[in-house]
């Protein structure tokens, strides 16, 4: 329902805020569907990082969508054509679901194959209770390595697009005019209390991922959200003093490196690539160790990548403001 409101409004600021709410709603939806790990991620990304990133971009591109002064006939025709296409496509898709298994059916094909092994064997084979983590880090370790690489590449792509001065320490005398945000006492104090808790929570999620919902992906985004909040409130300059972008760049690569090395080490110890059972004398302990290490790698890459992306954006926005 929020989605319709987003589609209707021309005020982009409102649209971004609504998409934050939309993210939160879908996170609670995921909890209702038993996907607690996913809900974690969606809450941090959909309701946290995505709107913040959008807001920074809006600062560059302008808040309002341009609307044609008089509704042109061509535009109207286009709209009608699009809506008709939508209805036809949607109708066909719904028609296609007629053969699909009913919602929540335990006999559905999706529930039949590898799933049974994951559920019945993974507590013994991997030795950790959270099946999502064991599938993510162990059974499908290749996929996860690929995904971490995609995120790394995306972060590098953003940096390449803004061939910026981000890594050069700016002279402190160049002071951009203070905006209102930096003088908000209530926000500052509340965030001062909240940010350490957010960061602490991120670490908890990181290291408790084997037993409860959580893991490297969630911890990475939560950590990044904490730092991004700090950057929003105190300005990029202060945040860059706390965490150097150059360090972040190294960390971002280090995470992928740790992940890859774990695979190589397990190969050298006589197993397959990313087969952790050989890492210690006892396969279960080996699996524990392997998962802990690669989750750490994932967490480092994600957190560093997200913060780096955000830094690049806000640096771009600030230098744009500086020019005007």
């Amino acid at each position: 329902m929020t989605a319709i409101a987003i589609a209707r409004t021309t005020d982009l600021f409102a649209a971004v805020m609504l998409s934050g709410i939309y993210g939160l709603v879908s996170a609670s939806f995921f909890v209702a569907l038993d996907a607690v790990d996913v809900a974690f991620t969606e809450a941090a990304v959909g309701a946290g990082i995505f709107p913040l990133l959008m807001l920074v971009v809006l600062g560059v591109t302008g808040r309002y969508e341009k609307t044609a002064l008089k509704p042109q006939k061509a535009a109207l025709m286009k709209k009608v054509a699009v809506v008709i296409t939508m209805v036809i496509t949607g109708g066909l898709l719904i028609l296609g679901t007629m053969d699909m298994p009913a919602f929540g059916d335990p006999e559905a094909p999706a529930q039949q194959h590898v799933n049974i092994r994951y559920i019945e064997q993974s507590p013994e084979e991997i030795g950790i209770p959270n099946m999502v983590t064991s599938v993510l880090a162990s059974y499908r370790g290749y996929d996860t390595l690929g995904e971490v690489l995609v995120i790394f590449t995306a972060a590098m792509g953003v940096l390449a697009l803004f061939s910026s001065q981000l890594f050069v320490t700016r002279k402190l005398s160049v002071k951009i005019k203070k905006d209102d945000m930096h003088d908000h006492n209530v926000l500052r104090i509340v965030s001062k209390i909240l940010i350490p808790l957010i960061l602490l929570f991120a670490f908890y999620v990181q290291f408790h991922g084997e037993y409860g919902p959580g893991g490297g992906f969630q911890a990475g985004v939560i950590f990044a959200a904490g730092i991004i909040l700090y950057t929003m409130l105190y300005g990029l300059d202060k945040a860059r003093q706390v965490i150097k972008p150059g360090v972040l760049r190294v960390l971002c690569a280090l995470g992928v490196f740790i992940y890859g090395c774990t695979g190589v080490v397990s190969m050298l110890s006589g197993g397959n690539f990313l087969d952790y059972s050989v890492l210690a004398s006892d396969p279960i302990i080996g699996q524990h160790l392997g998962i802990l290490v690669i989750e750490l790698g994932v967490g480092i890459t994600i957190a560093a990548g997200m913060i780096l992306i955000f830094f690049a954006f806000s640096h771009q926005a600030e230098s744009q403001l500086g020019e005007e």
């Binding site: 649209a15 996907a35 990133l53 959008m54 059916d105």
Partner: protein, 116 residues
């Protein structure tokens, strides 16, 4: 029986709203928000396929015997984070377009550069 499929309907309604925004909105940022909605609808599709009636979250405990399918959770969990990273890349492109052309409206872009 017929109404057992309602999860798919929600997904398709969201998907169509997203597609509508991508096609019909002229503002590039709006298009990206539409893309995000589309993406979320796919996430909901996967997760709802993995749901088992009466099942619990897939974390092993001695009192539960029925769990939802962990595999879609894994796929979507990573997809969300990859999604935000690629979205950031798209936003970076938008910022560059704004810098090069001074606008993020699709129609104005076409006027300024008829080749694209």
């Amino acid at each position: 029986m017929f109404f057992d499929l309602y999860n798919y309907w929600i997904v398709f309604v969201l998907m169509m709203i997203g597609l509508y925004m991508v096609i019909n909105q002229s503002n590039l940022i709006k298009k990206l928000i539409g893309l995000n909605i589309f993406q979320t609808s796919v996430f909901i599709f996967y997760i709802s396929v993995g749901k088992v009636n009466g099942g619990s979250a897939p974390i092993f405990s001695s009192t539960e015997t029925l769990y939802s399918n962990p595999l879609p959770h894994v796929l979507i969990l990573t997809a969300i984070v990859v999604g935000i990273a690629t979205m950031a890349l798209a936003l970076a492109l938008v910022v560059r377009i704004k810098k090069a052309y001074g606008t993020v409206e699709d129609s104005e872009l076409q006027e300024k550069d008829p080749k694209c």
